[in-house]
């Protein structure tokens, strides 16, 4: 195995980030920014609120700041240096002329117009290239946000204005979060960052009762956590079809572990015929959602891999050996190759094969144990867990460039870090970790930074992030 050098890491990340950036207009710009290591610096002074909107400013500001910061695409200007009187609307801004005339006798380093001139933000000590500002108001029982973004480095106000936009939502915390996500998404869009707003994370939680596990769902930022299954049993290992319409998981609701499939539109169960086996588990969908790959002990001795229609008919084996094989995951880009976990060479490692079961090769080096592969949307990288360099059970998150087998380690021995999956933007990773004691769900950027806990009640694991 090649050792991981900083250059490898940089290249990998550039690929990962570039993959996301391709469809955007400023693609070359972004690659330059990432690979060159320079980021735009943004200042986001708190929005203030009028009337009934004032009680929702805290959740709004927190949401906007969090979304922009966790994108990893922008450097956040230090809040403590913000001028005291930031603009709230366009009319608050003063042109360059006003800024150019410091009064004689004033301290030379103090901002000229206390925040009302763009130069207050672009100059030292803030040095922010961008300024986002606005305010919240109540209008006809609705929450209205007026959001702006200015490029502080452009001298004239008209040229500096990137956008001014109105956002509407219910006059509730939920509504405040909604308009905040929308405003943050528009800000990030200016930098070619696709928004994660509206994306969901499915996961497993035991908070419904000791000894039970149910499938839950939450917004990508941890808001709106709610329970989907109510078996009062163990239901685990969720997987969602790429179109976001079907959920498949493994459940003990009827005794031996079985696969169930549920429509996420109607919340009703869809038929799936499990093979007559002591165990059917770890389902996942093909990119078109038409078929399900899973592990089954149908052959008698050991869990092997199978593929079937999404109703369970047309069953075909993908492997035939005496090792334990689980977690088949189809490449979302090609639909033609499968990453999976097998103990065929000793301790569990990650392998790949064609979707017909041919051409099996091992991807991980054979050191330690490796499991939980998840494909990047680009179809070229996987994120997975590995105990390499640690005792059994001490899992860390790694990314691998499948073609070159080069790996980057993202976590470094802080508890058990497991079940990583990619965000739809291909730039974030959600995973579980017991680094703070109990197992909880975290997100991070694909370079391992911006780690943030999304859950705290009970124990929570096996997150899957979908559009």
């Amino acid at each position: 195995m090649k050792t991981t050098r900083p250059t490898t890491k940089l290249t990998l990340l550039a690929i990962a980030f570039a993959a996301v950036a391709w469809p955007q207009d400023q693609q070359s710009n972004i690659i330059l920014k990432i690979t060159g290591g320079t980021k735009s610096k943004i200042a986001l002074p708190d929005f203030r609120g009028a009337g009934g909107a004032s009680q929702f400013t805290a959740v709004f500001n927190e949401t906007v700041f969090g979304d922009v910061q966790r994108s990893g695409m922008l450097e956040m200007a230090a809040k403590s240096f913000y001028p005291l009187n930031p603009p709230q609307q366009e009319g608050d801004l003063r042109g360059p002329a006003a800024a150019a005339q410091p009064r004689r006798g004033a301290a030379p380093e103090s901002p000229n117009c206390n925040g009302r001139c763009l130069t207050d933000w672009s100059g030292p000590p803030l040095n922010a290239n961008y300024l986002g500002f606005g305010y919240l108001a109540e209008q006809g029982g609705q929450l209205v946000a007026f959001g702006h973004l200015y490029n502080t480095t452009v001298p004239d106000l008209a040229g500096a204005k990137a956008f001014r936009k109105l956002y509407n939502g219910p006059l509730t915390e939920e509504g405040a979060r909604k308009v905040a996500h929308e405003y943050a998404a528009d800000v990030l869009n200016q930098f070619g960052v696709p928004s994660l707003a509206g994306s969901k994370i499915y996961f497993v939680s035991d908070r419904g009762g000791r000894g039970t596990k149910e499938i839950w769902v939450m917004d990508f930022d941890g808001a709106n956590q709610r329970q989907l299954t109510h078996f009062k049993s163990i239901s685990t290992m969720p997987s969602v079809s790429p179109d976001g319409q079907r959920l498949a998981f493994t459940t003990y609701a009827e005794g031996q572990p079985k696969i169930k499939v549920m429509s996420l539109e109607t919340m009703r169960f869809l038929p799936f015929m499990n093979p007559q086996a002591s165990m059917n588990a770890t389902p996942s969908f093909t990119p078109d959602g038409s078929r399900i790959l899973f592990a089954s002990s149908l052959a008698g001795y050991s869990s092997q891999l199978y593929i079937a229609d999404r109703t369970g008919s047309g069953l075909r084996p993908l492997s035939d050996n005496r090792a334990i094989e689980v977690e088949p995951k189809v490449n979302p880009k090609t639909g033609a190759d499968v990453a999976f976990v097998s103990g065929r060479g000793g301790f569990q490692q990650i392998y790949r094969m064609n979707i017909d079961g041919a051409d099996v090769t091992r991807l991980t080096s054979g050191e330690g144990e490796a499991a939980n592969p998840a494909w990047h949307p680009d179809g070229q990288h996987i994120v997975f867990k590995w105990t390499r360099g640690f005792a059994p059970g001490n899992w860390n998150i790694f990314i691998m460039d499948v073609a070159s087998r080069e790996v980057v380690q993202l976590t470094h021995g802080m508890g058990r870090n497991e079940n990583p999956t990619w965000a739809p933007d291909g730039r974030h990773i959600v995973f579980s970790s017991n680094r703070n004691g109990s197992t909880q769900i975290f997100t991070m950027l694909a370079d391992g930074t911006e780690v943030r806990a999304l859950t705290s009640a009970g124990t929570n694991s096996m997150p899957v992030w979908v559009k």
Binding site: Y252, P257, M279, A295, S303, I324, G343, N372, P392, M462
Partner: protein, 260 residues
């Protein structure tokens, strides 16, 4: 023949003589005391005849062990008696009786002008037999399982029945045969479990193999396979949650549960 007849006759005669003599002899010393003089006989005035107005047994049918009540009312009687050990009674009254079989009680009422007789019958039925004594308390399936069956343990990432587990498993097999015979509808769930270190997904497969290899062993030594149901719990149901080898070993197990 003639000789013998003659002898018998002689003997009989002698015996008769002897008996007669003895009888005469006894009479002398044991002269019976004279009977007490009869009560002075009053001049019996001829009264009215006795009448039994009522004589009933309530209830007239009893289960053995229960009581029936005799009631009566008699007029013009000088002496009233009821048989079956009751004796003389007053002109009206009641008496509880506990006959053990069908019994007819006769009442005789004597009166100056004539006697009266009446009878009631109490029918006695045999009580239904008591339930048979409860059988000696039998151990429940759960008790038998926990008393006679032992978990067996595995090495990390292994599903083969370990050398040191074979004797235990053989003892389990013998116990299963007895238990399954005593509980004809019971099934034994063979649970495969793993420690917390392996991946949850892989451990489902590993637990399945542990369960399968234990079941295979049991079937080979004669436990009926259709009564052994395999199930893998992976690492979902640990019995111990510390992060050390002794705890991990406790979790790497096959556990057995009896299901009726």
């Amino acid at each position: 023949m003639k000789m013998r007849n003659k002898q018998i006759v002689t003997t009989l005669l002698a015996a008769a003589l002897l008996m007669f003599a003895a009888g005469c002899k006894k009479k002398q010393p044991v002269a019976p005391t004279p009977p007490p003089p009869p009560p002075p006989v009053k001049a019996v005035e001829k009264g009215p005849a006795a009448v039994i107005s009522s004589f009933t047994a309530e209830p007239s049918t009893i289960v053995r062990g229960e009581a029936s009540t005799l009631r009566w009312s008699v007029v013009n009687a000088t002496e009233i008696t009821i048989d079956n050990g009751i004796g003389t009674v007053s002109t009206s009254g009641s008496r509880q009786v506990y006959p053990t079989s069908n019994t007819t009680y006769r009442m005789t009422a004597k009166g100056g002008g004539g006697d009266a007789i009446s009878a009631v019958t109490v029918a006695v039925t045999t009580p239904p037999p008591p339930p048979p004594p409860p059988p000696a308390p039998k151990a429940s399936l759960e008790e038998r399982m926990s008393r006679e069956i032992t978990d067996i343990y595995f090495d990390y990432d292994k599903s083969e029945v370990r050398e040191d587990a074979r004797a235990t498993l053989q003892r389990n097999a013998d116990a299963f045969k007895a238990i399954l015979a005593d509980f004809p509808s019971a099934v034994v769930t063979v649970e495969g479990h793993c420690d917390e270190r392996g991946s949850a997904e892989y451990n489902l497969g590993l637990g399945d193999r542990r369960s399968a290899s234990v079941r295979e062993f049991l079937v080979q030594v004669g436990v009926p396979g259709d009564r052994l149901k395999p199930i893998s719990y992976g690492k979902e149901k640990p019995v111990c949650s510390d992060a050390n080898e002794s705890c991990w070993q406790k979790n790497r197990r096959a556990h057995f549960v009896g299901v009726q």
